[in-house]
Structures are given as structure tokens and as C-alpha cells.
Amino acid sequence: MTQIAQDKLQELYDFIEDVKQKDYTESYLIAVLHKVQELFGYLPQDVMDDVAERMGIPTAHIWGVATFYHYFNLKPVGKHMVSVCMGTACYVKGADKVLETLKKELGVAVGETTEDKLFTLQEARCLGACGLAPVIMIDDKMYGELDGKGTIDVINQYRKAAK
């Protein structure tokens, strides 16, 4: 295991030790899973095993919670998360076309990660930037008033930066 991975695990273990000092430890499961995702980008199975053992919660129960919430990624994700807003305003302004462009350009379906592990494509509900519709969000940065070419330009910026 690399030093970075070990450090991440240690941070998680400390976090779990913290919540175990509190009443109703089990109710912190979602908070712990958030921490896992923050550290690893998704919920790796062996880390969920760790959480089960350290919190004393059966793995099946953790799996039930992890799969219930769309927020949790069950597979590794790319370096950048591309969220396409499918809210009403974006939708009427052509979000479906933006999404199609992205699928074609990245060569992945919704929920999948590109082969170079640079992007994961996902749909989002309203991102709260209806005035700029249609919008996409990459990580925590918003790009609005997109058309086909504009979308590809944005993607290319990230590709260039990654080189």
C-alpha cells in the first residue's frame, strides 16, 4: 500500500474513532461513507469492509445504505466529475443535446468513466444556475450557455491541462 493510501485510511480510522465516542454511533454511518468518498472518490469494497468491522455494522446493511443514495459512487471515478444539469430549464434549452455531445466526445455512457480515467459523466438535477442554461458542472466549476462546440471546448481545456 502506498503512503498516500495509508494516510487516507488512517484519516478514516480517526474519523470513525471520533464518531464512536458519540451517542448513536450507527447513525453516523452516512457521515462515515461521505468521508470515504471524500478520501477515495468512491466507496471501495475493502474500505466498506473496514467500516463494517470498525463500526460493528453488518456489511449488508452498509451496502443497503451505499446503494440507496445516488450520491455514493460504487465504482472508481475519473479525475474530473462532469455533471450535466437535466433540470427543467436546462432541459428545454437543450441539455439533452449537451449530454449526447459529451457521451460521443468522451465515449462513455452516463455513470461511466473514460478510459484515460480523466472524466466521469453523470446527470444532475437542477444545479441552481437556470439563468445560464444549459449548464454543466465540472468538479465544482460551472459552465453555462453551452452548445455542442462550446461543450467540446470546455472538455478540451481539461484535457490540455492534464497533459
Partner: protein, 592 residues
Amino acid sequence: MADKITIFINDKEYQVDAGQTIMQAADKLGFHIPRLCYHPKLSIEGSCRVCIVEVEGARNYVASCSFPVSDGMKIHTNSQGVRKARRDIIELILDNHPLDCHTCERDGNCELQRLAASVGIRARHFEGEKKCYDKDLSSDAVIRDPNKCILCGRCVRMCSEVQEVHNLTQAHRGFSTVVMPAYNMPMDNSVCTNCGQCINVCPTAAFLEKNYTQELFEKLNDPDIIKVAQFAPSVRAAIGEAFGLAPGRNMEGELVAALRKLGFDYVFDTQFAADLTIMEEGSEFLERVQNGGKLPMITSCSSAWMKCVEQFYPDLLDNISTCKSPMSMQSALTKSYFAQKLGVDPEKILSVAVMCCTAKKYEAARPELEVDGLRSTDIVITTREAAWMIKSAGIDLLNITPEEPDHPLGESSGAGAIFGTTGGVMEAAIRTAYELYTGETLVDIEVEAIRGLKGIKEGKIVMDGQEIRVAVAHGLGNTNQLMETIRKEPDKYHFVEIMGCPGGCVGGGGQPYAQANTIPLDEEALQQRAQALYDLDRGKTIRRSHDNPDVQKLYKEFLQSPLSPVSHKYLHTHYQAKTPKGIVPKETKTGV
């Protein structure tokens, strides 16, 4: 005494105890409100909404399984509005359920089917999207078919609350919800102990035993093999229910006759091997007591318990008796002692076990139970499968002339019979161990303290001035509690009996489905099945395993003595720690 309050059901006034739900009150008054996700042994889920009733003044219909009665409450269980709503709810459940009742294994035994009929569904009004998943056929014992699942959650609650195995969960959400093990692992890779209790409580066919009836029919028609059957104690106490009889009728003779009619050349009785288990296990126990071996010694007859202990209690493996289960002993002897007597190649023998158990299918496939590279038990069928085969072959079980099992592996004592119920193995062991230890005969052989359905039972017996403390648990949840005690207080008991299923083998995962208007694992039914075995014991002249003449003969002719090298080769086994990561079955609070 609870306070009495007045309620009205369907305009009639009743005095009932406060502090209960509408369903509980209605049940006692003779109003059976239709229900689906409710089970008295499990926490209240309230998810199916089938048990709705109308309460005057309430904004909506309420789920009677979870809604408490209150003074002056006016309840309507059968008004037009509630009938229509209830029917719609069931129609909506059916909407996402395959339309294949006539090819389904639970056809005629399905709670959903009965429910639909009882509310008068005669047409399908809702036709929407249907889920489509692969069946999980990975396990030798328990198969999972999410397409049949209606998400009542009874299996999940059974697995976590009663058995405390926590293998199942409802994963994903909404239309995509599926009952599955963690990580959607195949059942054979999961922590499933194969106890089959999910099958018992499933209202549909979302969980089933792996069916071996076709394979068996094929083999029964093969003239070149010798077909040998054995059947477990509790099969005879329950199979009548699959033919419409009330629980608790002993069908031993009828079953022997039916198995012969099915095409078996020899029908032996697993109770014989139960007696033999007592000889070996009793001797092993005395050896441990006298030579300072690991105590408490814990029984090893229950296959689900064996997988459970290997997964969750690897630190207690040395406490487990090395004795194989009676089924595996019987099979090993069938292919050795009996084959020699017949003068045939053991490979020519088909050894079939009729068991109350689904986990026995898993046990039969365990490689360490092979003797000289040959599998001992070739096919295991459950009580349910046996009942179906008997019906399918046109055999009239109820009116058949009873027959006796064959020798030399069919004679049994009363102690062998009670093996099928919780406390029975311990009681049988005490009868023999006492005599082996003290040289005197135990006069009062019925050990009341360890009979009955209490989760954990304790007893003690004094042998030559030494107090022997015993404990008995049934169901893996109770077992978890007992194991925690043993971890903390290793000296508390000397001898411990574990059966993985509620009530012991009589409540096994392979027993007949609950009949109409009864509930799965009804305590009264379990007690009646157990009573059939206790009656069988009382009716026998020979009630101690070591008095079984065929067992004595077997030792003289073949095994020499208990725990001899020959006995070890055929009758004993070993266990291996399995350490699934992350799965924590103990001290957890799930459900309500």
C-alpha cells in the same frame, strides 16, 4: 393486567387490552385482516400496506400491523372503500410480478396467490414495466430469484433479526430495489449459512431450495445403481402437512413405504446414525472431561451452524465436536459397511438423504466429508421436494400401508428420534453419557429443563458427584448470544447443543410451507412437530442410543469402538476457519 378500552370493529363494540395494535386486537376477536409483510417473529415493517383498515376520523387508511388501538376507536376492516383500496394495493404488487403462476414452484403454496384470490382479483388492471434480473443459482442449497420478489422484506428481517446472519439487504431504491447479499455477491460466496429460513418466510418464490427432484427421478430409473435413502427424524413429523394433515402427525411408516414405492432399494433411517452420533459424541465428551480436553464441547449436527461457526467463531473451532452430522455418518456407512455387506462397489450406490434442511445440500458437497475420494451423500432433497416427488409419482401417502425401515442401518432408539427438536441431542447424549460415565442407568430420562421453545435453555446433571452444566440454543440469533457468553465465560458450561433453525430441525428450512391461514414457523406447529418426536420416543422400548442392537452390532462388526481409528475415518471430520472480511453479525442493532 393491561387497561381495558372500548373499540368498535365493523360497528360492534368490544373490550380489548390497551397497548396493542389494531391487527393484534382484531386477531383475538376473530377478524383476520389480510397481511403480507407482517410476521409475528419479526419487527414491524409496514411496507406492503395490505393490512390497511379504515379508522373513523383518520385522514388516511392506516396499516393495522403498526397502528395502536385507542379508546373509542371505530375501525372498519371490510368497508367497500377499504376493500377496494386493499385490492388495488395487491394489484399494484402483482403488476411488477411475473405472470407465471402455473410454472412456478410455489404454485398452490404461494401467499401472494392466496391473497390475490382472497381479495377477489380476477383481472389485471395495471400493466407496467416489469423488473428483469438473473436468478442467482450459485449456491448448492438456496437460490434467489429477484423477479419473484415483492420486497416485503421478511427474508431480510429473518436473516438479520432471528438468525442474526445479516446476509441480506434491500439494495438500491424505488423500482430498482433488490434483495441481495452485500456487494451483490453470489449466494455461495456470501455469508449465507444455507439455513433456508428466508425460504420459509418468503411469501412467493424469491427464495427456493436448489431442486434436485428431476435428477433424482432420473437416477431412480437407472437399473444399474443401488438406490439407498435415509430420512431425518423431523421429516416424518412434518411431511403430513404437505398432504393437508395437521402438524404433529408421525408419518414414519408411510414415508418408508412411499420411498420404496418411489424406487429406492433400501430405506434407512437417519435416526440410526443419530444413535451412532450419540455414541461417538458422548464418548468424545467424556474423553474431553476426563483428559482435560477443550470444553465446553459444542455439537456439530447442524450444517448451517457449522458454516456459521467457521465464519463468525473461528476462535471456538476447537470446542466443536469432530463428529459428522448423522446424515453424513449414515451416508459414509452406507458406502462402506453396507456396501461390504452387499458385496458391491460403493460407486454403484446412490446415497440419497431426505432432510428437513436446506443446509444439508451444502454439507453434502463439502469436500472434507468424502471418504476414500468418494462423496458420501449424493443427493439431498428437502421434506418439500420429497412431498412433491411422492405426489408426482401418484403415491397416496395418506392411505399407504406403513412399512419398517431396512436393516442394518434403520433401527433406532427413542433418543435418535428426539434429535429433530431443540434440546433433543442433548437429552439423548445425557441418557448415554450418564451410563457410560457412571456405569449406572439413568432412571429419569426425560430432561424437561432443555425441552421447549425458549431461546437458550440451561440444565445440569450430576454424574459421580461431578456437576455437568449444559446449555441448548436454537436459531442462529440465540446461538450468537450463547457464543458471546461462552467467549466471556469459557467455564460456564461443559456441553452445548446448537441447532441453527428456530425450534431445531423441526423448523428446518426445508420443511413444508405454511398451509393456508397459518404462518410460517408458527410456534404451535413447531411444538406439535416436536411432540410427535417425543411421542415416538415414549412409544419405543429402547430409548437409549447405546441400547440400539444394530448400533452394538455395527461396533462389533466394523467400527470396533467409539473413537476408534475406523470410527474416525468414517464418522469424524474437521473444520476450517472462513474469515469473510467486514461482515459483523453480532451485537448490532438493525430493524426496529
